[in-house]
């Protein structure tokens, strides 16, 4: 049992536990907070995988901006109290069965059919720091970068236009 394996198992346990906590939590606020913890755990995974820039981007964008937006909307709509569930009776069972089939199939392909082989080594020192990411992003991927900026502008305009009150409404 190397340190790598122990570290991975602890982090994986936290990630799966928080994901399940998000899934089964009765309060929407608790779900959002569980998901923030899940994102932070995945950010630590990125650090283990020599992706420091992506790890901190994950914390800043996902846990810091997207989840805060979620919490704002949850608070705004008062969705933390859920109404009693009136689901179709067979839906949950079918969903769980199908999810189990998916996981078992993925596990079989990964562990018994050798779908992916390779080893993850130690974290590299300057593989993906901000400088390297910046060089790659602005040299090879400049066009997608600029298109993404337009996409964000469109999303901003869309969000504002959608929630704008029409004239004549109270």
């Amino acid at each position: 049992m190397t340190v790598d394996l122990i570290l991975f198992l602890i982090l994986a346990l936290v990630a799966v536990a928080t994901a399940l906590g998000m899934l089964f939590s009765r309060s929407a606020v608790y779900s959002a907070l569980f998901l923030v913890l899940n994102f932070a755990t995945v950010a630590v995974f990125y650090l283990l995988l020599s992706a420091p820039f992506i790890a901190l981007t994950q914390v800043t964008v996902y846990a810091g901006a997207i989840m805060v937006l979620f919490l704002f909307v949850i608070m705004l709509l008062g969705a933390e109290q859920l109404p009693p569930a009136k689901v179709l009776p067979w839906q949950r069972l079918l969903a769980i069965v199908l999810a189990l089939i998916l996981v078992v199939e993925a596990g079989y392909l990964l562990f018994f059919r050798g779908a992916a082989t390779g080893q993850i080594g130690e974290p590299l020192a300057t593989f993906a720091g901000p400088r390297q990411i910046g060089l790659e992003l602005f040299n090879q991927y400049l066009l997608p970068f600029e298109v993404t900026s337009i996409l964000l502008l469109v999303a901003m305009i869309g969000a504002i236009v959608l929630t704008k009150k029409e004239k004549g409404e109270s």
Binding site: A12, A19, A51, V103, I120, A128
Partner: protein
């Protein structure tokens, strides 16, 4: 030195939990959060393979996925707010009319 399959198995489990969330829950905010979880699982696979092949393109793609996810969340939450304003309920089972 960890085998690659451990990370991929973790990503598969997270993705399945996200898919389960989309199928089981009826609060659209939780459904949205489960979609974000699925995106995260895919991002993890990208970063893993960027490490294995020592190619930065995987991480650049993760960067773009995060950006698109942020834009999607902004618009999606705006939609949910507007739907709540007209229907005063955010139960997805009741949102079965196309006419607003």
């Amino acid at each position: 030195m960890l085998p690659l399959t451990y990370y991929l198995a973790l990503s598969a489990i997270l993705f399945t939990i996200g898919a389960l969330g989309v199928l089981i829950r009826r609060n659209p905010l939780i459904i949205f959060m489960s979609v974000e979880l699925m995106l995260n699982a895919a991002n993890l696979v990208f970063v893993v393979f960027a490490r294995v092949y020592e190619a930065l393109s995987g991480q650049i793609f993760v960067f773009f996925v995060m950006t698109v996810a942020a834009a999607e969340v902004a618009v999606g939450l705006a939609l949910i707010v507007v739907i709540f304003r007209t229907k005063h309920s955010i139960d997805v089972d009741q949102m079965s009319n196309l006419k607003g």
